[in-house]
Amino acid sequence: MDYCKEVISDEEKEILQEIMNIAFGQAAADLADVINIFVVLSVPYIEMLNAQDLPEYLKSQVCSYDRISIVEQNFWGDFKGSAFLVFQGNAGRELVSLFGEDSGEFSLESIDALEKETLMEVGNILIGACVGKLSELLGDLVTYSPPRVVIENTPNDAIPANVFESNSSAIVLKTVFNFNERDVNGFLFLVTSHDSILWLKKSLADFMEQYE
C-alpha cells in the first residue's frame, strides 16, 4: 500500500519537494553568509509515514553512523512539527574551527561544550531559515522551541522514541547536504504531524494558484 498517496497526492508531494528545495537553498545561503562554507545541496525528497513508524525510520537513516550529533527543534504555527538536523561523526568539532575557535587551547569538557554550542548555532541558522522560508512561502508564521543538541556514540539512543502520537500520519521532508572541503555531512528532516496535513494541502493549492 502506498501510504503517501492516501494522504497527499503525487502533485502535492512534488510541490512540497520544490518548496523544500527553495527553503533549504535559503538556509544554505544564510549559513554561508555567517561562516566561510559552501553547502553542496541535493534534491530533497518527501516521505509519508505512520507516526508510529517514525523512530524506526529515523534510526534506519543513521544506523551506519559511528557517532551522531542531532540538533532538534520544534516549531508551531499552522505548520507544526519537529526538525532534526543530523550530522555524522565529529562534525561539531569540525564546525568549531569554522567559527574561529581554536579548540586546542581548551579542556575536553570545554571542547564538548563548545561543540554543542556550535551545533546549536548552526542548527538554529539552518532550521530557522529553512522552516521560516517554507512557512513564509505557504503563508504561515511559526515560532520555535530552543534547539536541543544530542551527541551520541550509539545513533539509536539519539532518536526520540515518540515523536508524535501513534496512529497518525507524518510527512518527512529530507535533504542531504555536505559542507564542501570539510568532513561534514548530514541531513535535515522536517517531520510534520497529522494536524498540519489539511492546512498543508490547502496551502500548497494556494501557492500554486499564482502559477495557474
Binding site: E11, E14, I15, Q17, E18, N21, I22, A23, F24, G25, Q26, A28, A29, A32, F38, V39, L41, S42, V43, L137, M208, Y211, E212
Partner: protein, 123 residues
Amino acid sequence: MLKKILLVDDSPISRRMMKSCIPKDRGYEIYEAGDGLAGFEAYKANQPDVTFMDLTMPVMDGSESTARIREFDPKAVVVVCTADIQIKSITNVLDLGALMVMKKPPSKETVEDALSKAAAVIG
C-alpha cells in the same frame, strides 16, 4: 528577437511554474528537459534563444550542463534559475558564462526581466 525557450529543471512543478510566468501572447516555442544532460541534448537539437537552467539536478547538474552548452555554442544565453543562492554558486555559474541568476521561486516580473536581458544580448 526571442522565439525559442528551453526549460531545464528536474521538477515538473518547477517547470510548470516557469511556464506560467512566460508571457503567452508572444508565441514562444517552449522546450523542456528534466536534467542537465537532457538539457544539453535538447539545446543541441533545438538551438533555443534562451535557456532557463536549474542547478541542483540528478544525472548532470546545471553547472556542468551550462558549461557544456557554452562550450558547444559560446553565444548560448543561459539564465540560471535556482534555489541555491550561495555566493559561490552564483559566481561559479556566472564564470561559466551564464547571463544572470534568478532566485526561485520565479515570478512574472523576474522572468520578464530575464527575457528582456536575453533579448538585449541577442539583439
